[in-house]
């Protein structure tokens, strides 16, 4: 897996399968969330946004963790593949963070009457988005992509150390100022007809992440290794 031509071929072989599995999970999850799940007794149908909002929020954290783990691999073993996986994850993670923010505020409008409330979850999600944009910005700003890869690895690890602190601070800050919160659904009282679709959607998003990542890694590999033998053979054949 560590060698670029190997990974390129491996990802290419798995892409169609992953796309198919993702489509199945997505359809099942959407059906479960939009049709099967009963309306909430307080919020009516508007709560159905959680079936995309909560999995997207989970993904935004999960992908940052993946990036930080890649960062450690880059710094300790200097693996080129980990660098490429790290930077290819960032746009996908930023997209999920963006989705969590926008769906959160679309859900907030019927609940709170405004699109934006300085709710703890939304605020930390917003800061997480800035962290992602920082990673992308730093990578874009450094011309030598080998150096950029290592810089981003350090930044991802620093971010990972800070995320729990930021999260805790924002939670604490929020409890101080007492605003409405979206946490209702995190109680264990949620019936299975509601949390099963959330889990299925979360799985679908995870598969999607791998699939989008493979897609990006393949494009990036071709570009970075354009002077190597295996790319030349691959293109000529």
């Amino acid at each position: 897996m560590g060698s670029p031509p190997h990974f390129y071929r491996f990802a290419g072989r798995w892409l169609p399968w992953l796309t198919g599995i993702f489509a199945i999970f997505l359809i099942v999850g959407l059906y479960g969330g939009l049709v099967m799940a009963p309306p909430d007794y307080q919020q009516g149908e508007s709560y159905r946004i959680i079936f995309v909002h909560v999995p997207a929020a989970w993904m935004s954290m999960f992908i940052y963790m993946v990036m930080a783990s890649c960062g450690i691999i880059v710094l300790v073993w200097r693996m080129k593949m980990a660098e490429i996986v790290l930077i290819s994850s960032a746009p996908v993670g930023a997209s999920f963070t963006f989705l969590a923010l926008v769906t959160g505020s679309l859900w907030g409008k019927p609940m709170w009457g405004t699109y934006w409330v300085w709710d703890a979850r939304l605020t930390s999600e917003l800061i997480l988005l800035f962290l992602y944009l920082g990673v992308l910005g730093l990578y874009g700003a450094i011309d030598d992509k080998r150096v950029a890869g290592r810089a981003v690895a350090i930044l991802a690890i620093v971010g990972m150390v800070n995320i729990p602190i930021i999260h805790y601070s924002v939670d604490w800050w929020n409890s101080l100022h007492q605003t409405a919160s979206l946490t209702k659904f995190e109680k264990p009282s949620m019936p299975p007809s509601m949390y099963v679709p959330i889990l299925i959607m979360a799985l679908a998003f995870k598969i999607y992440f791998v699939l989008a990542l493979f897609q990006r890694v393949r494009a990036e590999l071709l570009y970075r290794e354009r002077n190597s033998r295996w790319v030349e053979e691959l293109v000529q054949s």
């Binding site: 710094l75 150096v147 101080l176």
Partner: protein
């Protein structure tokens, strides 16, 4: 040549940077001026209603301190990077994180500590309750070194870039959030007569965490930038 011990190297570097900092008066005065200027803008923008200003003054002072500290960050390594001293520092036999700590300490003494002297005056102008002055000074004393330490990582990552400034703020400001939250809240609660002990303890925890971790990250980033 005589070899320096680690603590000698630390003090030597600290003294050298302080000397350079105090010689360059404008570098000393600019963050301070910026701090005062930003705070002057607020009454002009939101109106000079005394109750409102007193209410939001902890936030204003801290946001201004954050920006002032961020704008002065570039000076930590800039001149040493340009004249090659930084490269020599990385090649020296001493552990780089300790040398980084010396440089950041010097930078904080030159740019962060002076904020302490003007803060009471600005707090008075904004009408902050007098009972909060002590806590305000304490938060600046504990908070600004954290800002310098976190900021040094960002500077080390962007030092080789021609247009590093805007990227630096993107990298560093989100990481400043916890300090801002706890410091502003400490001043806020003490201005209404409540105890700010919890917030102060959190700031102390941040300071120790930053002291122990950020020089390591900065050293790694510097090595990466110079390679």
């Amino acid at each position: 040549m005589k070899r320096l011990s680690l603590s000698q190297a630390f003090w030597f570097l600290l003294r050298r940077d302080l000397l350079l900092g105090f010689r360059n008066r404008s570098e000393l005065a600019n963050p301070l001026l910026f701090f005062v200027l930003v705070i002057t803008l607020f009454p002009l923008a939101v109106g000079a209603e005394p109750n409102l200003l007193a209410r939001i003054s902890p936030g204003i002072i801290w946001v201004a301190a954050l920006l002032a500290s961020m704008l002065s960050l570039d000076a930590i390594f800039r001149s040493d990077f340009e004249d090659g001293t930084l490269e020599q520092m990385l090649l020296s036999a001493h552990p780089v994180p300790v040398l980084v700590l010396a440089k950041v300490t010097a930078h904080w003494l030159v740019t962060g500590l002076p904020l302490l002297m003007v803060a009471p005056m600005l707090a008075m102008m904004l009408g902050l309750d007098e009972s909060a002055y002590g806590i305000l000074l304490l938060t600046i004393l504990l908070g600004t070194p954290v800002l310098s330490l976190i900021g040094s990582i960002g500077v080390a990552l962007t030092i080789g870039l021609r247009k590093g400034g805007i990227i630096l703020s993107l990298l560093v400001l989100p990481l400043y959030v916890p300090v801002l939250i706890f410091a502003a809240s400490a001043v806020d609660v003490s201005s209404v007569g409540l105890d700010a002990g919890a917030q102060i303890k959190m700031l102390m925890a941040f300071l120790f965490l930053a002291l122990s971790l950020s020089p390591v990250a900065t050293a790694a980033a510097l090595r990466m930038s110079m390679s």
